[in-house]
Symmetry: C2
Subunit: 217 residues, 2 copies
Amino acid sequence: MLRKRISVRTIGRLSAYRRVLFRSLTTGPANVYSYQIAALSGATPAQVRRDLMSVGYSGSPNRGYQVAELAASIGEFLDDPDGQNVALVGVGNLGRAILAYFAGRRPRLAIVAAFDAAPEKVNRTIHGCRCYPIAQIPTIAARENIRVAVIATPAEAAQSVADTLIAAGVRGILNFAPVSLKVPPWVYTEDLDMTMALEKVAYFARHEKQQERDTQS
Amino acid sequence: MLRKRISVRTIGRLSAYRRVLFRSLTTGPANVYSYQIAALSGATPAQVRRDLMSVGYSGSPNRGYQVAELAASIGEFLDDPDGQNVALVGVGNLGRAILAYFAGRRPRLAIVAAFDAAPEKVNRTIHGCRCYPIAQIPTIAARENIRVAVIATPAEAAQSVADTLIAAGVRGILNFAPVSLKVPPWVYTEDLDMTMALEKVAYFARHEKQQERDTQS
DNA sequence: GTAACGCTGTGATTTCCTTCACGAATCTCA
DNA sequence: TGAGATTCGTGAAGGAAATCACAGCGTTAC
Ligand SMILES: NC(=O)c1ccc[n+]([C@@H]2O[C@H](COP(=O)([O-])OP(=O)(O)OC[C@H]3O[C@@H](n4cnc5c(N)ncnc54)[C@H](O)[C@@H]3O)[C@@H](O)[C@H]2O)c1
Ligand SMILES: NC(=O)c1ccc[n+]([C@@H]2O[C@H](COP(=O)([O-])OP(=O)(O)OC[C@H]3O[C@@H](n4cnc5c(N)ncnc54)[C@H](O)[C@@H]3O)[C@@H](O)[C@H]2O)c1
């Protein structure tokens, strides 16, 4: 398994490709071409083909890719065969929206536990997910084998929450708080900063001519 | 004003720098060094200095940058002096969280109108923001001079909403729907795709050694 | 004074990612 | 069967962004 370091951008695009493939499964024919995937996902045909090199599924010339098989191959490449449980910390406005959205949507990548510091939020079930006090992060994380977490707490709390999560075995964090988390090198963090994103949009809305295709990195 | 195309990433980081500067305003001394900004925002010192070249504010050797002045300069560079009004389309779980968060937070970049297709959501005021039927996008956008919009509708509706917004004069879109929008070249779009982000995190949580510093682009 | 230090601004370099371009493969149709 | 059309896989080229590295300068110490 000597695969040479896949780039972060490639992984993101593979996720996007898979989504358009699933959409095509119901609507379209059984095969697709790279230029079709590209059009639907905002990439270029060459980029699609190059990204797909990593997953090890080959299309056939003049026939393209089998939609169902390609989607399955990407899934095999991206997903853990046993599934990965996810924890959410911070059950505020955003946290609840996230719980509502992911509830029941992806069995292989489900949010199985929520945590919050506020007494009135804990020990309830929200959108099908149990909410625990943060003191229970270590025990629940161990019990549910949680390696992936989402942080949706206020900025001030984010770093200490991250430290707790990492101590409990978490190795990947999706961070919505507007701070840069300090984490050890074996932990991957991805920041989704809405304010920064909105400021970028506002800036380029005023500074014309910028025809980037930029699907989010 | 012959400035040579600032990159998308640079704009994003400038937004991050400004935020840490505002935070430092209250807590720290009056000056900062590039390496301090870097540490707080997850960048490198060289990157900070290079990014700051675009804004045209010079620090002084051995004294670094004046926090207040630098923050003001970045603001001058990023923000519209007259402010920019923002519209939100799709007042669901996520849309409401966004309204709650941005309400009253940034007077220069305020969400001044919300739109939704569901009859029970329109003509109400949610977190201080009036919600209109989508048919009123053209009139309200013209009245409020809206050039920036946020899309938080289901994926199926996103493209037609985008078309309507663009026809109404919108030039920058922050898109939360998991689709790639087709827009004319003078419209800037930024996709914030939570599912894709979570899948990236899940992937790299399983694939060791990846010590990326990746503040979101 | 003036020497030593430490940080900024920026040309040069490196690294990473995207795009190009073309041989090989598969299909169609006569 | 074979010519023509079309797409894939991928080495090579190109471009963009991060990093290096250092000259220049303000500051401090004495
Ligand atoms: N649209 C949005 O909601 C939005 C937009 C931009 C940024 N953000 C960021 O996302 C994060 C969450 O936003 P929100 O709107 O949901 O905020 P919120 O105030 O509604 O929710 C925060 C939640 O975190 C909990 N919390 C506080 N301290 C905690 C701790 N130490 N441990 C665990 N939980 C704790 C609170 O009890 C609350 O339930 C914030 O960092 C915010 O800056 C949100
Ligand atoms: N955590 C999250 O909430 C989350 C996570 C990942 C992705 N998303 C994406 O964000 C978007 C919104 O998510 P949500 O959870 O708020 O969904 P939601 O179903 O709660 O809200 C969608 C809203 O859009 C409105 N709407 C539907 N069609 C419309 C139209 N044609 N014009 C205007 N409004 C219309 C609906 O009335 C509803 O209010 C979706 O595309 C979703 O895929 C959300």
